[in-house]
Amino acid sequence: MKRYILMRVLKALLTIWAVYTLVFFLTRVTGDPIEWLTIAGASDSAKETLRENLGLDLPLWQQYFKSLIGLFTGDTGTSYYYARPVSELFAERIGPTVALGSIVMLVTVLIGIPLGVLAAVRHNTLLDRATMSTAVIGSTMPNFVLGILLIFIFSLKLRLLPSGNTGTPLHYILPVIAMSVGPTASVARLTRSSLLDVIGQDFLDCARAKGMREWKVVLKHGLRNALIPVITILGAQLSAMIGGSVVVETVFAWPGIGTLIVSSAQQRDFPVVVFGVLVIAASVTFVNLLVDLSYGLLDPRIRNS
């Protein structure tokens, strides 16, 4: 088991490094940041000085190794645009992103799983069909489309809720709905089908025959066995959410790392973009690693092999 974890961590690090390298070189293709940072008609010598100050005059491979070594020594580089350390910028912006993501995750788990259980227990009733057809619509609707729709209805037409930015708890409502509808629907659908598979098995009947209460039978023997695929999809949803937050944060002008990365990409602020993608890649790999390791806890059959 230890060896397995070690191998997985090494693979995760390798993935993150590969993403970092790819993004580092890809950003350089988007254009020259000096054009963005100087006003039109600036003298060539001023541009050259700026280029030297930012370290952009060095050959590309030297820039790459400089930034890579910087990462290991804790130096994340300096933003071209804000002229501040990149780590500082992220420290300011990570709070709103994590807050939003945690609430979305909580909503997904607390609504998605009970909804799936209910649909499975009331299998083939009107409730089941209504829940599942809603879930299909929910899981197929892209979150940015839903976000724009929500802003249109609740902010523009009804003027009930703020359309963007943070401040009050009210600000959370629309982005949380936009981001959690898809994952909630997927989790509900998967919980239902996974639980239905388990519900047909004899050990549930056996628990009933022993005199166990029905809700306890479903939760203790049913749901615990049905959770493994649900955990997988939760992990996948969380990964997708970390990446997808870039889009939703832009729609809602949420002051998180998503908007920071998007605006920096537009401004060719390479150090910020590269570090931002690094953060996202690291979170996604970390979540996937956690999901894989959690299988062992959930299923004794995987634990021993």
Binding site: Q201, D202, F203, D205, C206, A207, R208, A209, K210, G211, M212, H221, R224, N225, L298, D299, P300, R301, N304
Partner: protein
């Protein structure tokens, strides 16, 4: 002898529905039809019949997993067709057919065996171990098995766990729904012997369902033959195997392969298929395949006739005898 279980005119009918939204009932499956029998303390009643004849439905109604459409079940003198109290429930336990799906894969053997105690009695860890450890020995599993999970065992061993689980609460009656049919033949014998030993040690009454004649012949004291949800014949094992009276029972006996090439011609197989239970024959359920069927068989359902000491047969051919 004390009657442990009395079953009177028990029926289970499932509606057959058609249509997507507005479902219309188009018929009924009579899974169990007018079944009546008694079970005495300490005996083993074997129930035999083809698949789909209502054996499992009957057992599931007895233990309360299905609600009867009509009829009475009395267990230890109390009516249980509408559910039973916890103290009564402890007295009836069940062993399932499939040892693979009847054990929760996420529970260790210890937790599987402790669970009935957790539901029914408040016990300390030591008290629970005092109950479980001797049982584990009796079903032939080592002490180390407690910490393991079901997937680490073979089919026969898993069925031993299932049997131990059913015995944890010291039940009076053990319902066995084809407990050996999922096992290899070599393992079947071991498990059958285990049932016999445990029955002696725990003074158990067994209701044993099987579709295997030799299994029923080995384990039973009395045998009940079912066909399309109805009882065809009940008799002591000796009587039934020596003097089968119902044409269906006779056909079952002839269908058992005899390991003797000289007697090959004696193995006769019934013509035709079991009728669909939705369109069950109006009279005797066996009339469509019975070589002796006459007009009355097709029109009228035969009553149970007493055809010997403790021998009841549902066939018009014995209508001259006293009604049972």
């Amino acid at each position: 002898m004390e009657k442990i279980l009395e079953v009177n005119h028990l029926n289970k009918h499932y509606p057959v529905k058609k249509g997507l939204i507005l479902q219309k009932e188009i018929g009924q499956v009579r899974a169990v039809n007018e079944v009546s029998f008694d079970l005495f303390r300490g005996e083993t009643l074997g129930i035999i019949g083809e698949s789909g004849c209502g054996k499992s439905t009957l057992i599931r109604m007895l233990i309360g997993l299905e609600k009867p459409t009509s009829g009475q079940i009395r267990f230890l003198g109390q009516p249980i067709e509408n559910g039973m109290s916890a103290s009564l429930r402890k007295q009836m336990q069940m062993v399932f057919q499939d040892p693979y799906s009847s054990l929760d894969p996420r529970m260790s053997v210890q937790r599987i065996l402790e669970e009935p105690l957790r539901i029914h009695c408040k016990m300390s860890k030591q008290q629970k171990e005092q109950v479980i450890l001797p049982l584990l020995g009796q079903v032939g599993l080592p002490r180390e098995a407690l910490k393991k999970y079901p997937h680490e065992f073979s089919g026969g061993q898993r069925q031993r766990i299932g049997i131990a689980r059913a015995l944890v609460l010291e039940p009076t009656l053990l319902l066995c729904d084809e407990p050996v049919s999922a096992l290899d033949v070599s393992i079947q014998a071991q498990i059958l012997n285990l049932f016999r030993d445990l029955q002696r040690q725990h003074e158990l009454t067994l209701l044993f369902v099987s579709h295997d004649m030799s299994v029923i012949r080995y384990i039973s004291d009395r045998v009940m033959v079912m066909y399309l949800g109805q009882i065809m014949e009940i008799a002591t094992k000796k009587e039934l195997f020596e003097r089968p009276l119902h044409p269906y029972t006779q056909a079952l006996m002839r269908a058992v392969p005899v390991p003797d090439p000289e007697r090959r011609d004696q193995c006769a197989v019934l013509e035709g298929e079991i009728p669909s239970p939705i369109h069950a024959p109006k009279g005797c359920p066996f009339s469509t395949r019975c070589p002796y069927a006459s007009e009355i068989c097709r029109q009228q359902r035969p009553q149970m006739h007493r055809t010997g000491e403790g021998h009841l047969t549902a066939c018009h051919r014995y209508s001259g005898e006293v009604e049972g």
